[in-house]
Symmetry: C2
Subunit: 456 residues, 2 copies
């Protein structure tokens, strides 16, 4: 009965909930670019004010990078921690956006109403589903739904450099019975999902150095080594013809999928033709002896996320550049050792350098893969709550992306994490024209009310 | 006797000559970047004024791109045309310059005094050697040294799109007995040289298209094709292990060096260890069965002059970009057909595309290679004049760079060209901290006085 009242309140207040989200989306909190540091602080302050208004004891806590938002409130036997992040990805290429990425708008589309803005789905829209669920609960009950800690990070999109030290320094304050993380999606748009398997990430930047200055290709071309030639030669060999990564020992420790999980995944109606078709592709490009879901959830990858060197402006310049650069990342799975992998990759590059070339590496951090222990009773309770809201049985799924926080909660605070989110595959997170379905937002708020009702 | 007076006048007026050059160097006439279009026009106007002050009938002539400067003056049986270019290369990476590239300065260095600025050697300093020789001659004799046409281009660094139409439209006006071109260098810094063999150039830009939008490597990595992976795979195979270009039919029509030229080149004391050592290299990187001078002067090359795709800013972004790009150029030698080569290259790229990828090409123009007919008497006269000035026998050499104007003069105006210049190998043309030796400028002016004395 009281849950129904909360759900009705959520429905009635949706427009106000949306207005608050749009306010947050207007703050360009791009964490990887130092130019936006003040905006990140502003987003943190906005959230502190919001949480304080709900009765939380909330504060913006300084770090060497962007601040953490920590808020405590409510009472109860079970202590739940909620995690989200208020920072967003850069917006380039800006010219591919239909509108200013930080001027959010609710738009009608063929597939329903969407909230269009950078960060709408990743992760401001998602974190606000939890905040708004708390708000509705408070309005109906006069109290928060239980003993809650809200922990919001501002460096998730830039490698979380301050996260582990902050968790270590504040372990007693942050430790709860279980962590709830809202930064994932539904399965195939209409099946609620709890992520139980997460890939890790390792980021590396490489610079090939050749001549000690840029050269004119007329004067030196043919005799002088060109670092772009060396870089393309090396990175062009990162995959073999079958899509396997060629770095020695790359697959060390990678395990085959347990039969039970394999069977569950086979039962999921994953339409990889549609998944790829939605982004203009048709052929799975990974290891050719693997299923598409394995490529995405349980197999490691190597990707070149950026490459640059020489003249890249308008027109033409016949330059042999002194350097060439690339940003390379690896998606990791359970069993892989990130430190060893970085060593193997560096040695593999080094071994292929021709005379006169050197290489420098820049470590962009790493996070190990994670596998949740789904036997905790909370997992079943949450699964039931989600099934109730969405009218379809919730699935335990894998996630190709890296959400290192789940592993950190286990490692540094000794608590399990449940990853529940309401994103859709076509949200275009990290891309131009990111959006979050209004339905994701609305039913996401309702879902958290149901989950909190069962858990707290 | 009168030549000596002219030479003495050049020596006495050097400071004023230098001031005029510095004025010209202050104009940022970067032809490839549309933002500098007004500056290109300003450089042309500056030259018109300068030449008018010497008694030339000079004008800035509009084209669809940047203007041509054409000036006629003097009298005599022999009609000489002088060619240079007033446009310059872009200045990036700007942070590697010691000073503003367009705030020229005369600096003392361990190797003598140098004029430091973008365009000091390529080609403003060089073209001004001829103008200043005319000025000194006029001051001493009251007339120009002969019947002269001065023809200065503003699009040499951006593919000369207006040059051929302009030459065709003004053929009668531009036709002379021989063309003098000042855009080349000395041999090994102290041997005056006349270039008799020039490589051509073909420029191509390729864009690999994969997914129809940028993707998140967490969500799609492993299943979606990454255009950077495809681009590096293709371009990484542009050379084989022996430094040969792998594009099919690339070497069609390429001829072996005549024995006489090979012998002359072997007699030249080319120190390739020093040549490469000056730019931080040690090993000739071209075809391993060729001498370094062949690699530079008589063999074709393939170079990646620019590459870009994905995220290239600070920090890291786990993006799978929708596109990846490269600028590729080929240095051509006599016998190669540029149009056929472009077709072969495009087919070679196309044939290597995986499923779901497409490619688009952008033609950045081409110029065929050139071989001068050195039997014309003017070549011997000029060789003598240069030998007199520099105290060392002048050499007939090759040039790795492309100076298509020489071929155009032959093709469209039916006249031979002599390429005489005073640049040094360490001038860093097209690179940060470009310079022109004060000695190049000074003795360059004197050299032209001597050449004009013999030719005009």
């Amino acid at each position: 009965m009281s849950l129904d009242t909360v759900l009705a309140r959520i429905d009635a207040d949706l427009d106000q909930s949306l207005d608050r989200l749009l306010d947050l989306l207007r703050i360009p909190s791009i964490s990887t670019d130092p130019a936006y540091k003040p905006d990140c602080a502003r987003a943190a302050d906005w959230l502190v004010e919001e949480l304080t208004s709900l009765g939380f004891d909330a504060s913006s806590r300084p770090t060497p990078g962007h601040p953490m938002v920590v808020a405590h409130g409510g009472e109860g036997e079970k202590h739940l921690l909620f995690y989200g992040h208020y920072d967003v990805q850069p917006v380039d290429p800006l010219e591919l956006w239909d509108r200013d990425p930080f001027d959010p708008e609710v738009q009608d589309t063929a597939k329903g109403r969407v909230i269009r803005a950078r960060g709408s789905a990743d992760d401001k829209g998602q974190l606000m589903t939890f905040v708004e669920a708390c708000r509705a609960w408070k309005a109906v009950h006069g109290t928060l739904p239980g003993k809650l800690t809200i922990f919001l990070e501002g460096e998730e999109e830039s490698g979380s450099p301050s996260l582990i030290p902050f968790m270590q320094d504040n372990a007693a304050e942050l430790k709860a019975d279980i962590a709830l993380i809202c930064d994932t999606g539904m399965f195939e748009d209409d099946t609620p999902a709890i992520v139980t398997m997460l890939r890790g990430l390792l980021g590396e930047e490489i610079t090939i150095h050749g001549p000690d200055k840029d050269l004119h290709s007329g004067m030196y071309g043919g005799a002088a080594i060109n670092p772009i030639r060396v870089l393309t030669r090396i990175l062009g060999g990162l995959h073999d013809d079958q899509g396997r990564v060629t770095v020695p020992q790359f697959y060390d420790g990678v395990q085959e999928l347990p039969d039970a999980i394999r069977a569950q995944w086979q039962a999921l109606s994953f339409d990889h033709g549609k998944f790829l078709g939605d982004v203009g592709l048709s052929q799975p490009a990974g290891e050719q002896d693997r299923t598409p879901l394995e490529m995405l959830w349980s197999r490691p990858t190597a990707e070149i996320n950026g490459i640059w060197g020489g003249y890249t402006g308008q027109g033409f310049k016949t330059v042999l550049p002194a350097q060439a650069h690339a940003k390379v990342s690896f998606r990791l799975v359970a069993g892989q050792d990130p430190d060893a992998l970085r060593r193997h990759f560096r040695a593999w590059v080094q071994d292929q350098l021709p005379a006169d070339c050197t290489v420098t590496f820049h470590d962009h951090g790493n996070s190990p893969a994670g596998v949740m222990s789904v036997t905790a009773p909370a997992f079943d309770a949450a699964r039931q709550a989600l099934t109730d809201e969405w009218g379809k049985p919730a699935a335990f799924v894998g996630c190709g992306g890296s959400i290192p926080i789940a592993g950190y909660f286990k490692t540094y605070l000794g608590m399990d994490a449940m990853l529940i989110g309401f994103g859709r595959d076509d949200d275009q997170i990290h891309s131009p024209n990111e959006k979050y379905d209004l339905e994701s937002f609305h039913k996401g708020i309702r879902s958290w009310a149901r989950v909190l009702d069962r858990l707290a």
